[in-house]
């Protein structure tokens, strides 16, 4: 790649200059060529970084990625067709190429140059022959690195695994910082036991005689060579030097099995094996601690099938007659203790669960003990689909037994109870109703409101009893909801309660909406016993607004009309002739509507 003489060997940040030529500058054509070239490299590197950013943001099958992959490969093709390779050096600021700095202006901590630089890479060389797949594989390796926790990132290793044919990289040697002294020390440690070196050592008696015998046999065999003598250093070794088709098949099976060796399932098996096989009691606590840590890790990684496997394996061991049964039971208790369940809650609270079926199976393995954590996770999860699934799982785990859920509600903060209330509402048992009744008296009005919302859906007589209690709730919305439902029921308790509320002086201090709702309830019930209180309300002098048209008074008149008994009609007739305009208008209107 051509380099400008004045800037050769030094980095020049690409930035728009003022365009004035200096006396030392080379001819304009050289400069144009160089600008073109640096522009090309900059475009290439920017495309590389853009593609990496996209790879982090888009799913692998995205059209955006497909397009970028093609465009990137085309850019590389164009560049490498005229230059044999593209050599990029790395610093904390970004890429550098051919004396040109290409700083990364992206503010994110996971930019391509940053990940490569912090991974120890100092130079990358893309050789001619690289194709879209290889380029993408390179970016994908760095992407994989970005998804790992910072401590576990090892981009060099990830690149190494891919075995690129056309990408080379230079990385900081892990041991460079250790200093040469230490390596020298290792050399010294390798000092081997010295043997007395002798210039001349004749053959031992045994070897000499075997040599003579061998030669004699060789001559006897016609001198065709050792192979005809059937001398094997190890019996049957010749058979080990030939392959047959069956061998090939079996070797293939073995190599296939190596792929299964590094799976979490294998780790689960191994941990269980260790616990099973360890006979020293003092070690058990440590192993169980280790197991607990891994169990939580599996949950955090949402690897529920492996967690199921671990629990299952321990249960099986615990059910056995062997000495390992007791320690397996201890391990189970430890794993399923509230601390372990908290990990489930924390994990589920983080949101989206890709494999709900696996999660369900896992939760079933643990059993209803996990309900509190599930409810808590439900209250924190932002993903609607996951929330719905979690709710379903709570119900499945409870299996119609509200008593498994109610205690959770008692001990949980309001935001969790708000998730529990609808679940109780879906359990059609007296226990669930009792739970809702309890929650309808909770100190938090949001909870009471949610409980009333569920109570109003219930048809059991007991539901009305709880709702009647809600009529005296301090929260208007709770009272209105309860009243709205009660007005549709023919519940005597509710009736007396409402009559009492209307009769009481406090009625006139109530919100207009509530006043109306109370009278509407009496209207619906059409109960003759309410004539007295309604008459009292109709003829009331003060407290109903003092306007010509007073809705509450009119509602009372309407309620009397609905009751429709003779005393009720008499009240209305008398009222229609009243000297008080508001009474007269209310009664006349009610009678007209008849």
């Amino acid at each position: 790649m051509a380099q400008n003489g004045s800037t050769s060997g030094t980095d020049v940040t690409l930035s728009p200059g003022d365009g004035r030529p200096s006396p030392d500058e080379p001819p304009q054509t050289d400069l144009d060529g160089r600008r073109q070239e640096t522009g090309d490299i900059r475009a290439l590197v920017q495309a590389l970084m853009r593609a990496f950013s996209s790879l982090l943001s888009y799913p692998s099958n995205s059209r955006v990625l497909v397009k970028q992959k093609e465009a990137l490969a085309a850019l590389f093709d164009r560049h490498l067709s005229t230059h044999d390779d593209l050599r990029l050096t790395l610093s904390e600021e970004g890429f550098h190429a051919e004396g040109v700095s290409l700083p990364s202006h992206q503010r994110r901590a996971v930019t391509l140059p940053f990940l490569l630089f912090t991974g120890g890479l100092r130079e990358i060389i893309f050789h001619v022959g690289i194709d879209a797949e290889e380029l993408w594989s390179f970016l994908d390796a760095v992407r994989t690195c970005a998804t790992l926790p910072e401590d576990d990132r090892d981009v060099e290793s990830l690149l190494w695994e891919r075995e690129f044919a056309n990408i080379e990289y230079v990385a900081v040697e892990e041991l460079e910082t250790e200093g040469a002294g230490e390596i020298e020390g290792w050399f010294r440690e390798l000092e081997l036991p010295t043997l007395a070196a002798k210039e001349n050592v004749p053959l031992t008696h045994l070897d000499a005689s075997e040599l003579v015998s061998f030669k004699a046999r060789l001559v006897q065999s016609g001198g065709v060579g050792r192979d005809a003598l059937d001398v094997e250093p190890a019996e049957g070794i010749s058979e080990f030097m030939v392959w047959n088709d069956r061998d090939l098949e079996q070797i293939e099976q073995i190599t296939d099995r190596t792929q299964l060796q590094s799976t979490p399932q294998q780790a689960v098996d191994l941990l269980s094996d260790i616990l099973e096989l360890e006979e020293v009691e003092e070690r058990w606590t440590d192993i169980i601690h280790l197991m607990d840590g891994y169990y939580r890790e599996l949950i955090q990684r949402r690897d529920f099938p492996s967690a199921v496997q671990l629990i299952g394996r321990l249960r099986k061991m615990a059910a056995g007659q062997e000495a390992a049964a007791a320690r397996a039971q201890t391990a189970l208790e430890r794993l399923l203790a509230p601390a372990g369940r908290e990990t489930i809650r924390e994990t589920l609270a983080q949101g989206f669960v890709p494999d709900i079926a696996a999660l369900e199976q896992f939760l079933r393995t643990i059993g209803p003990e996990v309900i509190p954590q599930l409810c808590a996770a439900l209250s924190m999860s932002a993903d609607n689909k996951t929330r719905e699934s979690l709710a379903e799982m709570v119900l499945k785990l409870a299996d119609g037994n509200a008593n498994l859920i109610i205690p959770v509600a008692k001990e949980s903060p309001p935001q969790v109870i708000l998730e529990i209330v609808p679940l109780l509402g879906r359990i059609p048992t007296a226990d669930a109703l009792r739970g809702l009744g309890l929650l309808a008296r909770h100190s938090d009005s949001r909870v009471r409101l949610a409980a009333v919302a569920e109570l109003v859906k219930r048809a059991e007589p007991d539901a009305a009893r709880h709702l009647v209690r809600c009529l005296s709730d301090e929260n208007l919305e709770v009272r209105l909801r309860a009243l709205s439902r009660l007005s549709m029921l023919n519940d005597e308790g509710a009736l007396w309660q409402v009559v009492g509320m209307v009769e009481h002086a406090s009625f006139y201090r109530r919100n207009r909406l509530e006043q109306m709702a109370l009278i509407e309830a009496l209207d619906r019930w059409k109960w003759e016993g309410a004539v007295g209180v309604l008459t009292q309300l109709l003829l009331r002098r003060r407290g109903l607004g003092g306007q010509d048209y007073e809705p509450v008074r009119w509602k009372a008149a309407m309620a009397l009309r609905s009751i429709g008994t003779e005393p009720a009609r008499n009240v209305l007739d008398r009222g229609a002739r009243s000297w008080r305009k508001s009474v007269r208008r209310a009664c006349r209107r009610a009678l007209q509507e008849t």
Binding site: D77, V201, L211
Partner: protein, 516 residues
């Protein structure tokens, strides 16, 4: 100049209009099935190419064996040409490509792969293209030329091109190797890298061990990097790496043994055709396989007398403790899980004898089976307090064969035996010339197990050799048509004051003598 132009024209021909793709070149219309088929064909073709070349080294074209191999190779080429128009083998960066598709080596094609890569590198050839129109006669002539031995020299490529022209071979086109194909067969730089990898691996293991002993969490990142170097070095020069395992450090046995087992296991894994990631995982597992011995008192490990029952139990517990320690290196998910399995199972025999004692159905994982073989071999061939002399490599192999299918996996043992040879690398052998030699590489053809490559260390009079003389025992006397040298037997280096590690590392004995 004319010759250069000719070469250029060959190069042009070889890439023009053949539909061939350069290694890693754009794969428009990429087809995974097609690629898989190519890999299968490639391996098959490679084996036939190798077989025919080897036979051509030994037999005359009129020989029946030669004809059989020749027909097989020619038939395969014709079949391939019918499908793909041309057949191109290209070597770049020590990888082999067939019509642009990389042919990853597996154990069955290993010898062929190594042979071809070495031959390409030795002659500076980048690619050989068999073109449509090739006839059997021309192929025979080519194979005769290709099978001619000779030392690596700067003009090897030009000489080969000239020989092709002289023999009117026009349907086999060769092109010169680029930078990536220029590795020398015995590159000193590679060997320095191999020694460095060996020492660095030991150094990293030492550091991990020190941290574990200090009760601190250990980071295996450095060890991982070192094992990656081992994988690369084994890939470049397997024999030299195997030669390094002859180093047996009595004082620091644990570290030395672990690194040796790591090298042996990686080499086996490579022959099985494992991918790089698996090889690294296997290497790490092998490196840490004995980490549990940190928990066994040194007095027990170095006790020369027979162990008491209690002491033996303490020793057997190292597998369990080791597996546990592995998980503590950096958490269960951060270390290769295979390392846990290997540490736990490497003394568990295939028939579930050995330890830890397992009395239910149980399967020993493949990596543990590999490491068990490497571990046994290295332990037996090392000097230990309870053994006056290490067991000779050939005797160790003989012991191991008795355990095939019971203690060791039969097939994996086959791979190991073929890799090490009947006279394993580092064996001292007595030749029928009266010379003493150290085996430096097994014969790439397993059936020629009695004819490895050796380094003569003492002449027939018992004198130390003044310079490195390496000979292939399959070299034949051209007149008498019989081998020049035969192995009489393997013998004990201690009887002849042979410092095997130094012979393997440095070759020339005279320097060692002068140094003392």
């Amino acid at each position: 100049m004319e010759e250069k132009d000719e070469i250029r024209s060959h190069e042009d021909e070889s890439t023009e209009g053949t539909g061939n793709r350069a290694p890693g070149s754009s794969s428009a219309g990429f087809d995974t099935d097609w690629e898989k088929r190519m890999v299968q064909w490639g391996r098959d073709l490679l084996r036939r190419f190798y077989g025919a070349s080897r036979v051509a080294q030994i037999y005359d074209p009129s020989n029946v064996t030669f004809k059989r191999h020749m027909d097989s190779f020619y038939g395969a080429i014709q079949e391939f040409i019918a499908l793909e128009s041309d057949v191109q083998f290209r070597v770049a960066w020590l990888s082999l490509f067939l019509n642009g598709v990389r042919i990853k080596t597996d154990f069955s094609s290993f010898a062929a792969f190594k042979f071809l890569v070495d031959e390409f590198c030795r002659r500076g050839i980048g690619a050989i293209t068999f073109k449509s129109g090739l006839d059997a006669e021309e192929l025979t002539a080519f194979l005769r030329l290709f099978s001619l031995g000779g030392k690596e020299e700067s003009g090897a490529y030009a000489n080969f091109v000239a020989a092709l022209q002289k023999n009117n071979i026009s349907h086999v086109v060769i092109s010169e190797a680029g930078e990536g194909g220029r590795r020398k067969v015995e590159d000193q730089g590679d060997r320095a890298a191999a020694r460095s990898a060996f020492l660095l691996t030991m150094g990293h293991l030492k550091r991990v061990v020190a941290r574990i002993e200090g009760g601190e969490p250990a980071n295996i990142r450095g060890a991982r990097r070192a094992v990656e170097s081992v994988v690369e070095c084994v890939d470049r020069d397997e024999c030299y790496m195997l030669g390094l395992t002859v180093i047996k450090n009595y004082v620091n046995y644990r570290l030395n043994h672990s690194v040796n087992v790591c090298i042996l296991s990686v080499a086996m894994g490579r022959r099985l055709g494992l991918d790089r990631k698996s090889l690294r995982d296997l290497g790490i597992a092998a490196l840490f396989h004995d980490i549990g011995t940190l928990d066994v008192p040194d007095e027990i490990l170095s006790k020369p007398e027979t162990l008491t029952a209690e002491e033996f139990t303490a020793v057997t517990r190292h597998t369990l403790r080791g597996a546990e320690m592995i998980t503590r290196l950096k958490g269960v998910s951060q270390v290769p899980i295979a390392a846990m399995a290997v540490t736990l199972q490497h003394h568990l025999h295939l028939d579930l004898s050995g330890y830890p004692r397992i009395e239910r159905e149980y399967e020993v994982c493949p990596f543990a089976r590999i490491v068990a073989i490497a571990d046994y071999y290295d332990a037996m061939t090392s000097e230990r307090p309870y053994r006056s002399r290490p067991v000779r490599p050939d005797k160790t192999i003989a012991h191991m064969l008795k355990g095939a299918g019971k203690q060791f996996d039969l097939l994996l043992l086959k791979v190991f035996v073929q890799m090490m040879g009947a006279y394993p690398v580092g064996s001292l052998v007595l030749l029928d010339t009266g010379e003493l030699a150290v085996v430096v590489a097994p014969n790439p053809e397993p059936e020629l197990w009695a004819r490895p490559r050796v380094r003569i260390v003492r002449d027939a009079d018992g004198n130390l050799c003044q310079k490195t003389i390496d000979v292939n025992l399959d070299e034949t006397d051209p007149i008498a048509s019989r081998p020049l040298r035969n192995i009489v037997k393997a013998t004990d280096p201690a009887d002849y004051a042979i410092d095997l590690p130094r012979v393997m590392l440095h070759g020339m004995m005279v320097q060692e003598v002068a140094a003392r």
